[in-house]
């Protein structure tokens, strides 16, 4: 259990450095460190599917972020912080922290599933009938592509729409089309 607290401390320190540092590249690298810590944590929580996805997406996202931040002008953030805004944000963060302490007090121990003790919960049904009704040995896949396939359809639609938007905004021919029709 100590590994979780070490990883959590590592990720929190990485997040604070990522916010507070003035160099954009080191901030991006700290975000990558947080992601890799999260993937190790998923591995220890016996969720290898999420760990694989997390580590792969993290590598790709890190490449994109480094490639887009290097040789960019705004590597240093200038300007002083306002006093009033800082006080307000600290107060809001403290309130959210107190609420979080209250909420986490009611949860079970870290790493134990909440619905394990609830009879007739959805997760119990998936575990009992997953192999029989879908035939998939990997129960995560049987959930995301059979029991909860609407979620995956929505996720695919969101990805498709966002890619269309990015393609339209970032396409190279837009200027040429405006300047010379045909």
């Amino acid at each position: 259990m100590a590994i979780f607290y070490i990883l959590l401390l590592f990720m929190i320190i990485g997040a604070i450095i990522a916010i507070e540092t003035s160099n954009l590249l080191s901030s991006v690298i700290c975000i990558g460190a947080i992601g890799f810590g999260a993937s190790i944590m998923f591995l220890f929580l016996r969720a290898p599917d999420i760990a694989i996805t997390q580590i792969v997406v993290e590598v790709l996202g890190l490449i994109i972020l480094i490639r887009s931040t290097i040789s960019r002008d705004l590597t240093f953030i200038s300007g002083d912080k306002e006093f009033f805004g800082t006080v307000i944000s600290v107060v809001i963060i403290f309130v959210i922290f107190l609420a979080g302490v209250q909420v986490f007090g009611t949860l079970q121990n870290f790493g134990t599933p909440i619905f394990a003790n609830v009879p007739d919960a959805a997760s119990q049904t998936y575990i009992k009938e997953g192999l029989q009704s879908t035939g998939a040995a990997n129960i995560v896949t049987s959930v995301i592509l059979d029991f909860r396939a609407y979620d995956t359809l929505g996720e695919t639609t969101v990805l498709f729409t966002s890619i269309i938007g990015a393609t339209v905004i970032l396409r190279k021919k837009a200027k040429k089309l405006i300047e010379e029709p045909d």
Partner: protein, 169 residues
């Protein structure tokens, strides 16, 4: 004629040294070996998604990362020649259409959207084998195609955008 000869000579020279752009020759050689392993691993992750950890999304991202590796090592033009953007966006749309088609086929054969008709109605394959779980491997393949093509497309677009702004300003 002379210009054509010069152009062909330039092209041949670029083929030998893999073009002047990109990283050093060490990185190019190693990445041209490693890309095969990455693509094979991505295909494995996609195809065995219903048996082992992984699935369409993770495998698709691995497939996209192989082309991102090529793009970083060889430069943008090489990858654009290897996988044109028109084909890439067609693969993207094909994955999305396949996934929707699987859902509609479930409606046609079983009566409900996303019905796993290959497993529950026709009992194709047995569990813990590669051919099992009905429509789940097909959906994995569709999502793998979709995610891989679209992520590569967006990375390509981002690098193009960066190039244009840096050259114009």
């Amino acid at each position: 004629m002379e210009q054509e000869q010069q152009n062909s000579g330039v092209v041949r020279k670029e083929k030998i040294s893999h073009g002047a752009k990109g990283m050093t020759i060490i990185v190019k050689n190693i990445s041209s070996w490693v890309k095969i392993l990455i693509v094979l691993f991505g295909i494995y992750i996609v195809l065995f998604g219903h048996l082992t950890p992984g699935g369409g999304f993770a495998g698709g991202v691995i497939l996209a990362s192989s082309y991102v590796l090529l793009m970083l090592a060889f430069g943008r033009e090489f990858v654009e020649k290897d996988l044109p953007l028109a084909i890439d966006s067609k693969i993207d749309c094909l994955g999305a259409l396949l996934f929707a088609l699987i859902a509609i086929l479930g409606f046609v054969f079983g009566g409900t959207f996303f019905f796993n008709f290959l497993h529950q109605k026709y009992q194709i394959g047995e569990s813990f084998h590669l051919i099992s779980a009905g429509t789940i491997p097909l959906a994995n393949i569709a999502i793998g195609l979709k995610v891989g093509a679209s992520l590569f497309l967006v990375i390509f677009m981002l690098s193009t955008f960066r190039r244009d702004t840096s050259s114009n300003k």
